[in-house]
């Protein structure tokens, strides 16, 4: 069946000459009427946009831009990254939810995509059902870092110390309702302790206060902490993933320290609008897998992220688990956005 495309738009060609553009402008209407999509079950001609719900320059944006080139090559479409910041990711997410389910509009989501809906009682959409899942792209375990002046070396000692000095220990996070915050509250709940949350705006300033010894604990990416661990200016008590990390195989996980349910993993994943045909999802997923070459995986690993494209069903499964975990903790400690 031949259906006319609803969004007829001419994107400027990357290297078109001035004349070409002037003529495009002059004959725009002609080309508009002749542009048609052939079939529903493959991505229509034209660029595929990866929507990032953050302003340019953040780690999610940069990862999307890292994948942009290889993904475009594997998919055979030009790929653009569009930043749609605002509403703590609601604006960008809503944009994708309302887009045509033809594979041309994707969302590069993070933990926040799911957290928003759970934390905020924001029920305009549910990322589990109102979006199709293309695949998780990158994951990262966090580390529980402590300033040496606190005098603890393990999770057990931290718990003991916190119980002996209630209200005295604090933890810094990159922001209210961030994964770092949730991870800290999950530790509070799991170990039945009460360490005070001190939110910052971004991991950088929080880390500075941790290094300076104003903050006691921070659960954060271990990226860039290497020097501080080596010199003893910071201590790594545990990592937060379900398994130990490749970078610190000798450091136990929080789960190993006696809280088997505990897991806090940061991830970035591709979503598409609801009811995107399965063939298109598969096409996108296989292009992503193709794009994640060993070389790229290795390069990305340097930034602390493990690049590994999961299958769509693995992503759905993973999100369901995450949602349950978050819901439980939020019910228990009552964080709100």
């Amino acid at each position: 069946m031949v259906i006319p495309m609803k969004n007829n738009h001419s994107y400027p060609k990357g290297n078109g000459s001035l004349w070409k553009v002037i003529s495009t402008m002059a004959f725009g209407f002609a080309s508009v009427t002749s542009t048609i999509a052939l079939a529903q079950d493959s991505i229509p001609d034209g660029p595929v946009s990866i929507n990032v719900a953050y302003a340019p320059g953040g780690s999610t944006d940069l990862m999307a831009r890292t994948l942009q080139g290889p993904f475009s090559e594997a998919l055979g479409h030009s790929v653009v990254v569009e930043n749609r910041p605002g509403g703590s990711t609601i604006i960008g997410t809503t944009h994708v939810i309302n887009a045509e389910p033809n594979g041309q509009t994707l969302l590069y989501g993070t933990n926040a995509t799911l957290l928003n809906q759970i934390l905020r009682d924001y029920d305009d959409y549910d990322p589990l059902t109102d979006l199709s899942h293309v695949g998780i792209a990158a994951t990262q375990s966090l580390g529980v870092l402590a300033h040496p002046s606190l005098g603890v070396d393990t999770i057990e000692e931290l718990v003991e110390h916190a119980r002996a000095n209630p209200g005295d220990v604090n933890f810094a996070s990159s922001g209210n309702a961030s994964l770092q915050h949730i991870a800290g509250e999950m530790l509070n709940a799991a170990a039945d302790i009460d360490i005070t949350h001190i939110p910052y705006t971004g991991a950088g300033p929080a880390m500075t206060d941790l290094v300076a010894g104003r903050a006691d604990i921070m659960i954060t990416s271990l990226l860039g902490a290497g020097d501080y661990l080596e010199s003893g200016q910071l201590k790594l008590l545990a990592t937060t993933g379900p398994e130990r990390t490749q970078a610190y195989p000798d450091v136990p996980t929080v789960a190993e320290a006696g809280y088997p349910e505990y897991a806090a993993v940061s991830y970035q994943a591709f979503y598409a609008p609801r009811d995107t045909p399965e063939s298109i999802i598969d096409q996108l997923n296989s292009a992503l897998s193709q794009a994640a070459t060993d070389e790229l995986v290795e390069q990305v690993l340097e930034t602390g992220l493990e690049l590994h494209i999961t299958s769509p069903s693995e992503m759905t499964e993973f999100l369901r688990n995450e949602a349950e975990r978050y819901e439980a903790i939020i019910e228990e400690v009552g964080i709100s956005l």
Binding site: A55, P56, G57, G58, S59, D61, L62, R65, T66, Q68, G69, E82, N83, R84, P85, G86, G87, S88, I90, I91, T94, L119, R120, Y122, N170, G175, N176, A177, T196, I198, P199, Y200, T201, G202, G204, P205, M207, T208, D209, V211, A212, R214, L223, G224, A225, G226, D227, Y228, E230, S231, Q299, V300, E302, T303, G304, I335, S336, L337
Partner: protein, 506 residues
């Protein structure tokens, strides 16, 4: 002596790294693109860097950093150009350049203004770079002393200084700061996530975009006010010759000291992670006005009011690298991106960066200097071109300015919400201008107000509600003392001026 020979070796190593054709090319490219991004309002440092980020995969880490750093300080420089020519600041520090830069341009001295900006950026950057080379470790240890308590007091000081910088009464300046703070508070509270002035609309959750605020407040209000007045007067912009670009001897003499004072102020504030550059340019401006024998010239094209803050914000740009490079902890998003580039290439940032990759560190520092030299070389010939733009009759020019406002604002978030805010702030700015209020303090309040609240609340969490923490911390205490002193003097002076004015009339 040994210290200097090591330093000499390092400089030589840095120059050898920075002067390879590859690095020179990427330095020039970065500086050029940065200037362009800066000149176009709305396209900020981050957006420009983010767009070029994928390219950095194919470059050596040094080349990538040199290019991104070029964009970073190039944008600061370019931003002043638009401020001076069109009164369109994209950042708070560029708003300071509007105060005296734009009046200079209106008086036909745009060439002088642009030239002094170029020189100021070079002087400021050079001083910043020298301090960075000589005192990095010391500066870092000072920066680590700055916790929430100190930041709060620093920001209070910055706001007080800005309030007292207008020619009108300090009361009106203070009022503008408070309005700015209120606008800045729109969004989700960072401690509890409660929506403040968001009226349950997700579009306001992340607060009001500074680009929309600055474009409306300065750009649109200025256009509305200028269309008729520009049509009724004959263009007074003279033909551009080398002569008319050169400052007079008096102007040169007037600028030398402010250039270095600004550089000093900028270097200090820049090294504090966060909004150092913004505070630096406002403080530099206020300082010049305070110590000037003719403060009434400020706001009407005083060259010191342009030279000092320009020098300050470029110096701050350079010293902002100190905590980032030496601690490996990014203070701002732009810095985070630069560290990201390092990490992609397998270089872990952190205190050992300097000893582990000296060629990269010193190459980068030397490239800063070469980049600033390139800025000078690229931009001096451009000044004539820019000034010619002003000779275009205003009725042909203003639709274009409006287009840049629209597209610059739109491109930030790919949505039209910010455009409606531009309209709102444009009208508000126009009304405030007509009612004789000074607008730059509003922008500073917008930036610093929320930070001040954030740090106040954090300080209270750390001190467990003990307010005396602000006085008992020595750094914080002295900032607050200074702020009180400045406020008291300015009210005293303003009251005395009023009495003197009213005295002759019985």
């Amino acid at each position: 002596m040994e210290f200097f020979s090591i330093l000499g070796d390092n400089v030589a190593l840095g120059l050898a790294t920075a002067l390879t054709p590859e690095h020179l090319f990427y330095c020039a490219l970065g500086v050029f693109l940065g200037t362009l991004a800066g000149v176009i309002p709305g396209i900020g440092t981050l957006a420009a860097m983010s767009l070029l980020f994928p390219l950095t995969f194919y470059l050596s880490p040094t080349a990538a950093l040199v290019m991104l750093a070029g964009i970073y300080y190039g944008t600061t420089y370019g931003g002043s150009t638009t401020s001076i020519l069109l009164n369109l600041p994209g950042t708070p520090s560029a708003a300071v350049a509007c105060i005296d830069g734009h009046p200079m341009a209106s008086q036909g001295r745009a060439g002088v203004a642009l030239l002094i900006t170029t020189i100021a950026s070079f002087v400021g950057a050079t001083v910043g770079i020298l301090l960075m080379m000589l005192f990095s470790p010391m500066i870092v240890s000072v920066a680590l002393q700055f916790g929430p308590t100190e930041y709060f007091s620093l920001m209070a000081l910055g706001l007080i200084v800005a309030a007292t910088m207008s020619n009108e009464s300090p009361l009106k300046g203070l009022a503008m700061i408070l309005v700015g703070i209120i606008v800045g508070l729109v969004g989700l509270d960072i401690y509890t996530g409660a929506g403040r002035f968001t009226f349950s609309s997700p579009t306001l959750y992340d607060g009001i975009s500074i680009v929309a605020l600055a474009m409306g407040l300065f750009g649109v209000s200025q256009i509305i006010g200028s269309i008729r007045s520009a049509e009724s007067k004959v263009s007074n912009i003279q033909k551009i010759t080398i002569r008319s670009m050169l400052p007079t001897l008096t102007e040169c003499r007037q600028s030398v000291k402010p250039l270095f004072r600004g550089a000093g102020i900028g270097s200090f504030f820049g090294a504090l992670p966060g909004s150092g550059g913004t505070i630096a340019s406002f403080v530099a401006y206020a300082t010049e006005k305070k110590i000037s024998k003719t403060p009434e010239r400020f706001g009407h094209g005083a060259i010191e009011g342009l030279a000092s803050p320009e020098s300050a914000n470029n110096a701050a740009d350079q010293t902002a690298f100190i905590p980032t490079m030496a601690l490996g902890i990014p203070g701002t998003a732009s810095m985070a991106m630069m560290l990201g580039v390092l990490m992609i290439h397998g270089i872990s940032p952190g205190p050992s960066l300097m000893s582990n990759s000296p060629d990269l560190f010193w190459g980068l520092i030397m490239s800063f200097w070469i980049g600033n030299l390139l800025l000078l070389l690229i931009n001096i010939p451009m000044i004539g071109l820019w000034v010619n733009l002003l000779r275009t009759p205003y009725q042909y020019l203003y639709p274009g300015i409006l287009m840049f406002i629209c597209l610059g604002t739109y491109s930030v978030s790919n949505s039209t919400i910010d455009l409606w805010l531009v309209i709102l702030f444009g009208l508000a700015g126009y009304a405030l201008l007509r009612l004789n209020f000074t607008l730059p303090p509003l922008l500073l309040g917008f930036v610093l107000g929320p930070l001040m609240e954030e740090n106040f609340r954090r300080a209270m969490l750390y001190s467990r509600g003990d307010l005396s923490t602000f006085v008992t911390h020595p750094i914080s205490g002295s900032f607050l003392g200074l702020a009180v002193a400045i406020l008291a003097t300015s009210f005293y002076l303003s009251a005395r001026r009023k009495r003197l004015k009213e005295a002759p009339a019985p």
